[in-house]
């Protein structure tokens, strides 16, 4: 096959109104509109969604799994961000 492959798009589905979009998989398409059509036909044949997002896979910027611990380290020692860090004196309510 020497023809150029259509670009890859990642597909995100909102399954019900009120929920956030969730990654479902990917499709190949020549352009954005076709990517939406292919995503609909591939991932929502049973009414799995009320909204679709497609985005070119090569436009997604992702964190590097090899750096996970360093990358997320700044949050690690800030336990005071959690309510459970604080002791509530006996007798105090509704806090």
């Amino acid at each position: 096959m020497n023809e150029k492959e259509w670009p890859l798009y990642e597909v995100f589905i909102r399954s019900r109104s009120g929920l956030s979009h969730r990654h479902a998989g990917s499709v190949h398409a020549a352009d954005d509109q076709m990517a939406l059509d292919h995503a609909r036909d591939t991932y929502t044949r049973r009414m799995e969604g009320v909204s679709l997002w497609v985005v070119r896979s090569d436009l997604i910027v992702a964190s590097d799994p090899a750096d996970t611990s360093a990358f997320f380290a700044p949050a690690e020692d800030k336990i005071y961000r959690h309510p459970t860090f604080y002791k509530i004196p006996d007798g105090v309510e509704n806090l």
Binding site: G25, Y43, P65
Partner: protein
């Protein structure tokens, strides 16, 4: 399904590659043992990647080639209702193929490469789809037996250690039970019909029973890299375990239909509660895998022709997209 370990004979996957340290492999195995999911960009042993790529792409090819035997009856389904159902079923199989290609691509091989490997014969697909669909009853037998066997195999794959594959399998499994039920429904109707219809159902069972059992792959004793796949939690049950499960649930269904399973050695063992069944003709299995089943050549030819026939559509869509992209940029 369709992950029957098609090329297990004679090949042993290397368990480690030169550049991989024992520490890396150890850390990886610990993650797998802890049921942590491995994602596309995570470090993984090269052999794990190869094994998954082979399995997922074979699985995808099987879904796509599997559309052909059933597609054969789309224009000849006996009623409009049956036709609409079969159309939806075959379309689902296309979808399964696409989910799986999408999962395989996360491992770093392009879709085009996978299709090229299928057409060149480098990549395999399930042996079952190289049998012909001679009568309408075969459509019933496929849904009931072939999709039934697929479900057995696929449910444990929903817990596969590789995240993208596991998630694709969840999506697929949700759709499969409709496939099996529509097949059983066809068999049920035929089995309650006139003598000719009953004979058709029996004939279909006779031809599809043994190939369905072969779908689970070689016996455990001949299955070379099963152990590694189990350790990596790509596989959860052995070929023989899954085959036994399938026989145990399917034989009573055949009895309900009033059909005879074509196996003189079939009997239930009262002690174990499991059915014991006759020997599988493994020579037939390996012949079909080697390309000498009744329909191998036809299946690949047809898939290749579809690729050629569709080229102008892909080219036109690309030209249209390019033209609009330049117009928008100007």
């Amino acid at each position: 399904m369709y992950t029957q370990g098609l090329d297990q004979k004679g090949k042993v996957v290397q368990s480690s590659d030169a550049s991989e340290s024992a520490d890396q492999l150890d850390a990886f195995q610990k993650r797998v043992d802890a049921e942590d999911k491995i994602e596309a960009k995570d470090w993984m042993p090269a052999a794990y990647r190869r094994t998954l790529l082979r399995q997922i792409s074979q699985h995808a090819h099987s879904e796509i080639i599997g559309m052909q035997p059933e597609g054969n009856w789309l224009t000849r389904a006996p009623t409009l209702k049956r036709k609409a159902i079969l159309l939806a079923k075959v379309q689902d199989e296309a979808g399964h193929g696409l989910y799986l290609y999408s999962a395989a691509e996360t491992l770093g091989v392009s879709r085009d490469q996978m299709v090229a490997d299928l057409l060149s014969g480098k990549a395999k697909y399930s042996s079952i789809f190289n049998y012909p669909t001679l009568t309408w009853a075969d459509i019933g037998a496929i849904g009931w037996l072939v999709d039934g066997a697929a479900i057995m195999n696929q449910i444990p794959l929903c817990r596969c250690s590789y995240g993208p594959y596991a998630r694709a399998m969840v999506r697929i499994c949700k759709e499969e039970s409709f496939h099996q039920r529509q097949g059983f429904d066809i068999m049920f109707e035929l089995s309650r019909g006139n003598d000719e219809q009953k004979a058709m159902a029996q004939d279909a069972l006779n031809r599809w029973w043994w190939p369905s059992l072969m779908m689970f792959g070689p016996n455990d004793s001949d299955s070379k890299h099963s152990a590694q796949s189990m350790a990596w939690k790509i596989k959860r049950f052995s070929n023989d375990e899954l085959r036994q499960k399938f026989v145990d649930v399917t034989v009573p269904q055949a009895e309900f239909l009033g059909l005879r399973v074509p196996d003189d050695d079939l009997s239930i063992n009262d002690k174990t509660g499991h059915y014991e069944f006759g020997d599988i003709d493994w020579q037939e299995f390996y012949d079909v895998l080697a390309g000498n089943g009744p329909c191998n050549r036809q299946r690949i030819e047809k898939r290749g022709q579809a690729q050629v026939d569709g080229a102008w559509v892909r080219d036109a869509a690309r030209a249209y997209a390019d033209k609009h992209a330049t117009a928008a940029a100007a």
